[in-house]
Symmetry: C4
Subunit: 273 residues, 4 copies
Amino acid sequence: MNQDLMHRNPLRQKMYEVIFGTETPAGKRFDVILIYVIILSVFALMLDSVGGISSVFGFEIRLAEWIFTLIFTVEYAARIYCAPQPWRYIRSFYGIIDAIAVLPTYISFFFPGINYLLVIRLFRVLRIFRVLKLMRYLSEANLLMRSMSNARRKIFVFFSFVLIISMVFGSIMYVVEGPENEFTSIPRSIYWMIVTITTVGYGDIIPQTILGQIVASAAMLTGYSIIAVPTGILTAELSQEIQRERASAICNACQKSGHEMDASYCKYCGEKL
Amino acid sequence: MNQDLMHRNPLRQKMYEVIFGTETPAGKRFDVILIYVIILSVFALMLDSVGGISSVFGFEIRLAEWIFTLIFTVEYAARIYCAPQPWRYIRSFYGIIDAIAVLPTYISFFFPGINYLLVIRLFRVLRIFRVLKLMRYLSEANLLMRSMSNARRKIFVFFSFVLIISMVFGSIMYVVEGPENEFTSIPRSIYWMIVTITTVGYGDIIPQTILGQIVASAAMLTGYSIIAVPTGILTAELSQEIQRERASAICNACQKSGHEMDASYCKYCGEKL
Amino acid sequence: MNQDLMHRNPLRQKMYEVIFGTETPAGKRFDVILIYVIILSVFALMLDSVGGISSVFGFEIRLAEWIFTLIFTVEYAARIYCAPQPWRYIRSFYGIIDAIAVLPTYISFFFPGINYLLVIRLFRVLRIFRVLKLMRYLSEANLLMRSMSNARRKIFVFFSFVLIISMVFGSIMYVVEGPENEFTSIPRSIYWMIVTITTVGYGDIIPQTILGQIVASAAMLTGYSIIAVPTGILTAELSQEIQRERASAICNACQKSGHEMDASYCKYCGEKL
Amino acid sequence: MNQDLMHRNPLRQKMYEVIFGTETPAGKRFDVILIYVIILSVFALMLDSVGGISSVFGFEIRLAEWIFTLIFTVEYAARIYCAPQPWRYIRSFYGIIDAIAVLPTYISFFFPGINYLLVIRLFRVLRIFRVLKLMRYLSEANLLMRSMSNARRKIFVFFSFVLIISMVFGSIMYVVEGPENEFTSIPRSIYWMIVTITTVGYGDIIPQTILGQIVASAAMLTGYSIIAVPTGILTAELSQEIQRERASAICNACQKSGHEMDASYCKYCGEKL
């Protein structure tokens, strides 16, 4: 019904195809340009946060800020106008992000004192996730996503396991090292354990006692060993996906590859697959 | 025999199914609730160890401590009551952990001076391993466990090898750097070597001489290379397990996949698998 | 045409085979000797940069510098002389590197004051990439290159994803920790995030607040998890390559392996593969 | 010839089987006991290097030192006595290690002033490699060794590549950061690059300039990406080895596994494999 109504207004239908779609050349071009504008706006935000630059180029950055806000406002309005179900878009993940990207600048204009909006403005960086939307059209990204999605539950089980180990080792280290050696509380010991087990190793919290160093060595070797688990899971899944993609695509008659997974006949020689 | 006796007391049998079993809905719900209570009690322990919180909310934390102890005491008593072989439960790994989770609070009540019981109380965190018991019912965890169990001996051989390399490199570094550069003893050099080979790299012990830095570089590249071994072992095992699970599920007649591992006939064409 | 002309001048043709080619024994020997000279010259550059050595052996190093420059000049001239299309060589990647390797020494002779040429001289180190050219003749290097080339696009997609995550987490940490805790700007926060997500963990920038440590822990576990992705991609590709190389080499009749990939008949029993 | 002579002296032959061989129960027991003695002697060496322990238990450690030296001397003499070709044993890798394990103690007895022998004594730790000799009889170690041996050349190619990258990046960082920021020489920059690319990250040398941090980020992401290569190589090899071991071992008739690779008939049902 709603879609039928759309078909009667060619402008909105055309805009919808360009702004939301990525199938048409114009739709793809729109998305690519939008990504560049988003990246530029994020770049401006970053420069603004660098002390030396923001004090010298304060005016230019504020100007860029307003230009980007206007562009995003027009884009936001256009999206609402041409969306088949405007409310659904407004309440969607991207709809909220798009609103957050423009609102802080306006609010800071009407209520100049509210400084913490500077912080909310930073959420504009989340718009960069739109890049991911475009990536969907790369078959490589699709393959990766499918493998990660398959591995989802296994990796969740694995992380629960890592957290349990971190809690147990963290508590042991709190007992062994104690508050006099930087292990001032159990949460802090768990933080140390995560820093150690992931092999990041900042060196801000370090075991000082000999027993603590032995426990830490055991923790490191454990981390070194279980670092293999997510790799193993993902590699197995990726291998499966790549193998499936290729194995399904070799014709017994002409040995040509590149068939779709659901094909029943070779598209080069007509032989039954 | 013992089991036959059980069947005559429906209450104990019912309790056994709920408390020890996880097959019935009630048994699963009991375990899930228990896990939440354990996580809450561990959370209280953690807050207690944070200086700022324990001094302000001392009373609330001690109250929570007693409530959790009472809950665990009731649970412990119920487990002993309904276990088919109570002594076997009491002396089992979980039985001992369950006792350790409640005893320190009572002892500290009767003998208030014994402060080091605070430390033993921390072993309550081991109760969190009960989560693993629940995980057994996730097929993902099963697959991971089976792969790890298959890789068990290979990883043990590998760790012996890592320890030997750490001892040899550690001794060499003790000779090269010597006590004047933080390498005060061979055990400490081995600790440094484990920190380095696992790529944790705290930076508390650092080679200062040029020869030491060359040896350290060799050690790092060795670590970088052998980090591959556990990954390789586990990936190979996981691949095998996943492949076996899926390969066993391809019908020779219709080439369709997705059969259960224990299926004898293809569910799509009825052909014997 | 050009090549026909070459065939008429046997000296240039012979020189071309020796200097550019690696198929003939003389051509291979030339390349191996050249690699050793390049490595020696890079070694001299390195010693020159070490304060203690350059002040004591200043004359010897400058002498070596001139000897290597002369050798490389003769080689450069010979390459231009015998190349079938001299301009194409001069403008190629290796041609530019070869010129950069000799020019700075001459310029510093005629214009002694230009010290920053010392820096350009360092680009001579890029000549070491010639080693890679020789590696092409190792089948192992070929296999690795082919796998990496296959994985190229997937790894590019992955790095875009890592950069997006780094930007988002970096901005969050800038908000959470703020300039008072070393996170003085967003670019610096992103630098911290890359140091953390790659598990390098220098420890020069460290989260100080509890919320910051929680976010950092999440970032570390994310890094620990996605470290698996490039491994998974490459392993799957390498497995494919190795499998293809070997699978293509099993005879259906005698089950023997070790056939070349382009073989049409089994070399042990003559059966068609 | 030499072996024929051996057969005529039953004592030497028997000793040879026990000391050098591992096939007989006595031979295996001898090796296991020897490994324990070696580990104990290494443990004594380690304790000797710990300041606090060596000053208090100086006498006990020196006594243990002499007891271990006597045991190893007897073993060394027995090995020479029963070896079929004594000179070959003496000049072999293990023969030299065995001599180094006993000589320093005697020399320090006759020439008490030579303190640096303490250092040579540390090479006794190399005797621990005998553990590896015993490991050969674990099929897991064999599988790992075979895979690593297959991957040998690929990993060598890979390390050459890592070293070239380290030299190029190290030189760039020397130019970018310069001696005023701890990058005092190119070798030191290369050391920093190895610490970074292997994700160890001590934090003793840290890029201070913004350009340096950008180059360092690129280096880290490179390291993060190429950490995959050895893993990929080894995983592919291990997969092959495990697959070969198992695939070759399933009988089509009775579905039983565990056949040797060179078997032509199933050892359970006699069916041709």
